[in-house]
């Protein structure tokens, strides 16, 4: 097939990110120490351009390009936008932390941008091969980011764990893909879906393939029992890296699940529904229960991630357009909440001090009541208390499981969310009810960070009060 320049049009956002990454990579070599801010500015500009391009090329009919390997549809548009916006916030929060530690170098931005590029490829892939390539690009960049602080032993250990377990997960996934290829003779989602619809679950190779795929998805999401890497990585990695790997990648993992399980294997939905159901219940249970015992807030947030993944799976397993839309809503909202939470930890950190224990948040209300209010919003939202958007997200996934008559599952979910409320409340308690240590220095943050955090926190409230727009976007994807 001859090269057709029109094929490039739907992937302009990816191209913009790639160009930005390349420019930063080269330019960084020539920048003096004091000019490193240019990296930061360029990255932000690149992300903004990519957001603009996402809007420009988005909308309208789905387009499949590059011999059926890449697709641009409603799902792509929305998830691209969400990934880019969340990452933009992450870079804004990360800057002061990097500067304080002499880590304000181009590599952080290059690796971050490549990770984002990988995520964008995942959301716009139309074949198992493309999605795997995107996944690996994202994962390899994130492994390096975790080890980014070279002098930190904990960081190196975390990176090692992340790499080994991540490679294991990817291996499972690839193995599953190969079996599905064997059973169906294709790696494109369209033909695979057709072949699966004809064969059903009679083909044992296909059954094995699906099991491995679900395991792979479980690994990438960090769902129980494939969650072991999550707490260690969150605790060990430098906070900016956690910020990057704990927020937008969840959206990408959602795309992974939707593309593979729904676009490719929807015909056998009843079979993977059962598997997801087990993963969901285990994740909600273990995540919420173990989080209670944590005193390290990064570790606590790791377990909270696991429990939120359980909720996202509730929407996925419902197997209806409504359910997928609610899971998507949840994934996007979760990414925003998690960015806010880690953002606050970065704000509280300063030269030679990393905020990572619950006690480090003590008396935040006395130190800066605006940030305290933002963190409280994030926590109430994670706990699912109205009027924050976390409640709406939970409401929607509960609705989708009640819709398929799994009322007991909804009851299990709310029971675990009560348990979850306890440890989120504990964070609010530390912020509001405890007095700060007297030797705590005054919080100083730049206007940009304050603006980004206000946007981040208030968006949780605004989306909770007016969820209709985002929800209708999510629903328009699955019609």
């Amino acid at each position: 097939m001859p090269f057709d320049a029109a094929n490039l049009f739907p992937i302009l956002p990816e191209i913009a990110i790639l160009v930005t990454a390349s420019v930063v990579l080269v330019l960084d070599l020539y920048l003096k120490e004091k000019d490193k801010d240019i990296n930061h500015t360029l990255t932000l500009i690149g992300l903004l351009v990519a957001i603009g391009l996402t809007g420009a090329v988005g909308g309208g009919e789905a387009r499949i390009v590059f011999d059926g390997n890449v697709v641009r549809d409603g799902l792509t548009d929305l998830l691209r936008g969400a990934i880019l916006v969340v990452s933009l916030l992450a870079f804004v929060y990360a800057r002061p932390w990097l500067k304080d530690r002499g880590l304000f170098v181009g590599e952080f931005y290059v690796l971050g941008l490549f990770a984002i590029l990988g995520m964008l490829i995942m959301v716009s892939s139309n074949s198992f091969l493309t999605i795997y390539l995107g996944l690996e690009l994202q994962a390899l960049s994130l492994y390096a980011l975790v080890a980014f602080d070279r002098d930190s032993k904990k960081g190196a250990e975390a990176a090692m764990k992340y790499f080994v377990l991540g490679a294991l997960g990817s291996g499972m996934l690839l193995y599953g893909v190969s079996m599905i290829y064997g059973a169906t003779g294709s790696i494109e989602f369209g033909p695979v879906a057709q072949a699966v619809a004809e064969q059903g679950m009679d083909n044992k190779v296909l059954v094995f393939g699906v099991v491995f795929l679900v395991i792979g998805v479980g690994f990438k999401f960090g769902a129980v029992p494939f969650h072991m890497w999550v707490p260690d990585i969150y605790e060990g990695a430098p906070t900016p890296a956690v910020l990057l790997l704990g927020s937008a990648p969840k959206i990408a993992a959602f795309a992974l699940a939707i593309r593979m399980l729904v676009d490719g294997l929807e015909a056998i939905q009843p079979d993977w529904q059962g598997m997801l159901l087990i993963l969901a219940v285990l994740s909600m249970g273990l995540g919420n229960l173990v989080a209670i015992a944590q005193t390290n807030i990064k570790r606590m947030l790791a377990y909270s991630t696991i429990s939120h993944v359980g909720f996202i799976f509730l929407g996925l397993l419902a197997g209806s357009a409504q359910g997928y839309a609610s899971a998507m809503f949840y994934a996007i909202v979760y990414a925003v909440m998690s960015t806010g939470a880690f953002g606050i930890l970065l704000i509280l950190s300063r030269k030679g001090f990393d905020a990572e224990n619950l006690d480090d948040l003590k008396g935040l209300n006395d130190r800066d009541s605006w940030y305290a209010a933002m963190m409280a919003l994030v926590m109430f939202s994670m706990a699912g208390v109205p009027p924050t958007v976390g409640f709406m997200a939970k409401l929607l996934v509960l609705e989708s499981v009640v819709r398929i008559d799994l009322v007991w599952l909804a009851l299990v979910a709310v029971a675990f969310s009560i348990i979850g409320a306890f440890y989120y409340l504990r964070v609010v308690k530390v912020i509001y009810f405890d007095k700060p240590d007297p030797d705590m220095p005054v919080l100083t943050t730049s206007g940009g960070v304050r603006f980004a955090m206000s946007l981040n926190g208030l968006s949780l409230l605004a989306l909770g009060l007016f969820p209709a727009t985002l929800l209708s976007w999510c629903q328009s994807v699955f019609v």
């Binding site: 009541s369 306890f422 009810f433 209709a468």
Partner: protein, 526 residues
């Protein structure tokens, strides 16, 4: 027809006021307090429009506002009040003024945040009473927890963290199951409108499960025995204003929930499980009455007295089913519910006033222990007079509002069962015992210690607070007719509704309640 969005205004004005107060900050001046007071009074004045514009002859929803909120799920911004919710809204806006005034000089740590929390709380509570969409209701219902959690936790007593987390988790626990029930009914009714839920036909099993889910939510809030234990803790640790709002309004939201949700949505389950609620209510009245008797802490004593009084409310509500089942005594049903309603409003005034009285003493002596006081009347004669008055009202003295509700509930209970009424009537003795004994130990007798000897009598602010509440208690006690008038049509509507069987035709044989004519016609056919 375009109507002025009065309810929206009463909900959002205090919330906007709260934000304004936050923005004004604590710059050493009293400006934030004045802004808070202005908003509270303005909101109350506007909410009076609900009373004056209310058509008491109609039991239908009034001041209705309806707009799409989340169109894909049929969730609406749907507001409206009837005779049951309107008085509670006025109570809310009324009491908030006193809370703001009571915290005037007492709160020194971030007073603007304190005032703002109460204003936001006010708007949210009005929202709870006026929401007619289940999800909107739930959002307000849960949103209420956040300001209260902060109020108790930041401005509370020494053990505040334990108390506030217990409060939050108890309430959260109760309500999430209600959420699942609401979602379940959405799929049956294809709407989240509470009024559609009222007309929804539900099988017995579904009704029982939904009833239990509601019971968990509302019983915790009321609070009913045995899930009442958060209340004494929360009351003791909360700042005075927090206690007042808790006792005067938040507890009423549980009672309101029974009237708006449990009874009309699941009448058959309510009718078959009413013995349980009645038993729990009587336990609350008698057992908790005895528990109150032995309290050493004044706030705890009033907290337990609240539980006992709220037992009266739930008794009045659920006695209705016994009366309906027994055709010979028809007519008492409306009285039971109205008695419960009057009791709720009256308890709002009385318990609020009593907590303010304890606050007055606490601000001066910094102790709530009964044993630390004695002979207060010698140094604070005006204060002593007020306390005695409110204590009498709490014990149900005729002429005060406390008497009206209790009397009506006991009268209604008599029509159902003599022994229940007998047990309920013990409250007249028990409430008198625990309240007056406390008054005797705190107010009368010799001046006990130097602190009491050095007490200053009420200042103007406190006199105003207690004086207005005393007038309200007296007015409602002597002339309760206006209140009964506005709620009468709505309560009759409700009684007629809960008296009808809602089971589907296939289960009509199990109906203990009257079978509606439309359904009865269907089942008679072969």
């Amino acid at each position: 027809m375009y109507e002025f969005p009065l309810l929206t205004l009463v909900i959002w004005l205090p919330i906007i006021g709260g934000i304004a107060v936050l923005a004004s900050g604590d710059r050493g001046s009293d400006i934030s307090k004045w802004i808070a007071l202005a908003f509270a009074i303005l909101t109350f004045a506007i909410s009076l429009g609900l009373w004056t514009g209310f058509d008491a002859g109609s039991g239908q929803m009034q001041f209705v506002e309806r707009a799409a909120w989340i169109p894909t799920f049929n969730v609406e911004y749907y507001l409206g009040v009837d005779g049951i919710s309107m008085p509670l809204i006025i109570l809310t806006t009324f009491i908030t003024i006193f809370v703001i005034i009571a915290g005037w000089d007492v709160i020194t740590y971030k007073p603007s945040h304190y005032m703002a929390a109460f204003l936001i709380m006010e708007g949210v509570m009005v929202g709870v009473f006026s929401a007619l969409d289940a999800i909107l209701f739930y959002v307000f219902w849960e949103a209420m927890l956040i300001p209260m959690f902060i109020i108790i936790g930041v401005w509370g007593g020494p053990n505040r963290v334990y108390a506030t987390i217990k409060f939050f988790l108890y309430t959260f626990f109760g309500s999430v199951f209600m959420l699942v029930a609401l979602i379940y009914m959405y799929f049956q009714a294809d709407s989240f409108s509470i009024l559609d839920f009222h007309d929804l036909e539900l099988g017995m099993t579904a009704q029982i499960l939904i009833f239990v889910a509601f019971l968990l939510a509302f019983a915790v809030k009321v609070p009913m025995f045995p899930v009442h234990t958060w209340l004494p803790d929360a009351h003791v640790e909360a700042p005075t204003g927090g206690s007042v709002i808790l006792a005067a309004i938040m507890l009423k939201i549980g009672g309101y929930g029974f009237l708006r949700f449990s009874m009309p949505i699941t009448p058959d389950a309510s009718a078959s499980l009413d013995w349980m609620i009645i038993a729990l209510s009587l336990i609350a009245v008698v057992y908790i009455g005895f528990v109150a008797l032995v309290q050493q802490d004044m706030k705890k004593l009033i907290a337990y007295s609240s539980i006992a009084h709220m037992g009266f409310v739930t008794l009045g509500f659920f006695i209705v089913f016994t009366i309906i089942r027994n055709p010979e005594v028809a007519g008492g049903a409306v009285m039971g519910i109205e008695g419960g309603m009057v009791q709720m409003i009256s308890h709002g005034f009385i318990s609020g006033a009593l907590f303010l009285c304890v606050g007055v003493l606490y601000d001066r002596v910094h102790s709530r222990e009964i044993a630390d006081y004695g002979g207060v009347i010698n140094t604070m004669p005006w204060f002593g007079a007020f306390v005695v008055f409110f204590a009498m009202a709490n014990a149900g003295l005729p002429g005060t509002s406390g008497f009206v509700g209790e009397f009506m509930v006991i009268l209604a209970t008599f029509r159902a069962d003599f022994w229940w009424a007998f047990l309920a009537a013990t409250t007249l003795i028990l409430a008198a015992a625990f309240t007056l004994w406390m008054v005797k130990r705190v107010i009368f007798g010799e001046v006990k210690n130097e602190k009491v000897a050095g007490l200053q009598d009420l200042n103007g602010r406190e006199t105003l607070n207690l004086g207005v509440l005393a007038v309200a208690v007296l007015a409602l006690g002597i002339w309760p007719a206006p209140l009964m008038e506005v709620m009468h049509a709505s309560v009759e509507n409700l009684v007629a509704h809960v008296g009808e069987c809602k089971l589907p035709a296939s289960e009509a044989a199990d109906c203990v309640l009257a079978v509606p004519a439309s359904v009865a016609g269907l089942t008679e056919q072969p």
